[in-house]
Every structure is written in C-alpha cells, then in structure tokens.
C-alpha cells in the first residue's frame, strides 16, 4: 500500500509568487494534517481535515495560506503571495482516526527567495 505522498519535493519561488503544495494521504484515511518546520525550529501544526471539512485550522499563519481537500481525498496548500518567512519544510500526515497513528509524507521543502 502506498504511503503518504507529497508533491513537489522541493520548490524554489520568488517572493510574491504563488505556490501550491499537494498531499495524497493513505487511501481510506479520513484525517489529514498539515505541519510546517521552519529551519532549526520545531514542527508546527497548521491544520486538520476530517474528510473534506476543516476540523482545526488554528495553526494557519495568516490569510495568505489556503488549504483545501475537495472530495475528501488529496489536499492542497496554496501560499499566495509567498513571503520569505514562508520558507521551510511542509509535512502532510494522515490517519485513520484522530487518535490513530499519523503517517507522514516526505515533506515539501519550500524556499522563497
């Protein structure tokens, strides 16, 4: 069975541009989480979907970030416009239940120049 996949693995964009990150969770996992790790700091929670609904988006930094999960399958995280401080590694994780083990994707390394 395929694990959590993320695309792209690495993205380099200029300040002010738009980037869309994609996450494909494990098939059948209703719960999908986005996290971010800024260089040298802890991994921080961004938001949580249950199927297509946003359960908790308390970690979203600001309104430049938009996450969607249409149809309750894959999810996208769009950053528009990107700022320098958005650089980091964006992780996606999925789980069967909200208290089940979370399986992580390999992450997308975003570099904003």
């Amino acid at each position: 069975e395929a694990g959590v996949t993320q695309f792209p693995s690495h993205s380099v964009i200029e300040k002010g541009q738009t980037v869309t990150l994609r996450c494909d969770p494990i098939s059948g996992h209703d719960n999908l989480y986005w996290y971010r790790r800024v260089m040298g700091k802890e991994i921080k929670f961004l938001l949580h979907f249950v199927k297509e609904s946003k359960q908790d988006e308390s970690g979203m930094p600001n309104n430049r970030f938009l996450a969607e999960r249409t149809g309750g399958t894959y999810s996208t995280l769009k950053v528009q416009p990107a700022e320098l401080e958005d650089s980091g590694v964006y992780f996606c994780a999925s789980s069967h239940g909200s208290r089940s083990e979370q399986y992580f994707g390999p992450g997308t390394r975003l570099t904003v120049t």
């Binding site: 694990g3 959590v4 719960n31 989480y33 996290y35 040298g40 700091k41 802890e42 991994i43 921080k44 929670f45 949580h48 249950v50 359960q55 908790d56 970690g59 992780f91 789980s95 239940g97 909200s98 208290r99 089940s100 083990e101 979370q102 992580f104 994707g105 390999p106 992450g107």
Partner: protein, 115 residues
C-alpha cells in the same frame, strides 16, 4: 500553552551502546499521549513509540523504551544496542486526548550512530 522541549540538538553514540534522548513538556491537562518520531536522512518520519499518559508502565518497542515521569513532565527515549540505522533526527511530540489529534513537537535531536 502546550510546549515540548528537547534540550539536546545533537548527540552521538557508538554502535552497540545505549543512548538516552531527553524531552520535557508542559501542559495543564492530565490526559494526553506522548510520542517519539524518527526521521532518517532523506526519508519519511515514522513513529517509534507511543505512551498514554494514564498508563504508569513505560512503553517499550524492541530496543526502544521510554522513561515517562508524569509529575516531572519528562519523557526520555532510550535506545539500546544502537545500530547504524538509528541515525536520524528524533522528535518528541504530544497530543491532548481532548483534541483532534494535532501533534505538538519539540525542536528535534539529531542522533548519529558511529561505527
């Protein structure tokens, strides 16, 4: 606010020896879960071990065990008989039983196992 602190940014250990990674956390809640995750170089993060706060017995998974001290809010990870494949970044994390599963992570400890 809930926080997790890993005070050792980097550690190293000789192959076959034992190493302990430290983690402390802060929460006013009494029901929660604690985790250690491992991220090998250029690979995905995987769960190493999990501890329910209501359980007094320390969790063990093969060569990995924890020392859970609830009163001290400490959750250290012991790796016995270290292997080269244990080289990775290790993250301590917890989640409240009452919430939706969002994990709160520490800063991570890079562990290098030397031959």
């Amino acid at each position: 606010a809930q926080t997790v602190t890993q005070s050792q940014p980097e550690m190293s250990v000789q192959e076959a020896e034992t190493v302990t990674l430290s983690c402390t956390y802060d929460t006013s809640e009494s029901n929660y879960y604690l985790f250690w995750y491992k991220q090998p170089p250029s690979r995905q993060m995987i769960l190493v071990i999990r501890q329910e706060a209501y359980k007094q017995q320390n969790a063990t998974e093969n060569r990995f065990s924890v020392n859970f001290q609830k009163a001290a809010k400490s959750f250290s990870l012991k790796i016995s008989d270290s292997q080269l494949g244990d080289t990775a970044m290790y993250f301590c994390a917890f989640t409240l039983s009452s919430n939706t599963g969002k994990l709160i992570f520490g800063q991570g400890t890079t562990l290098q196992v030397k031959p």
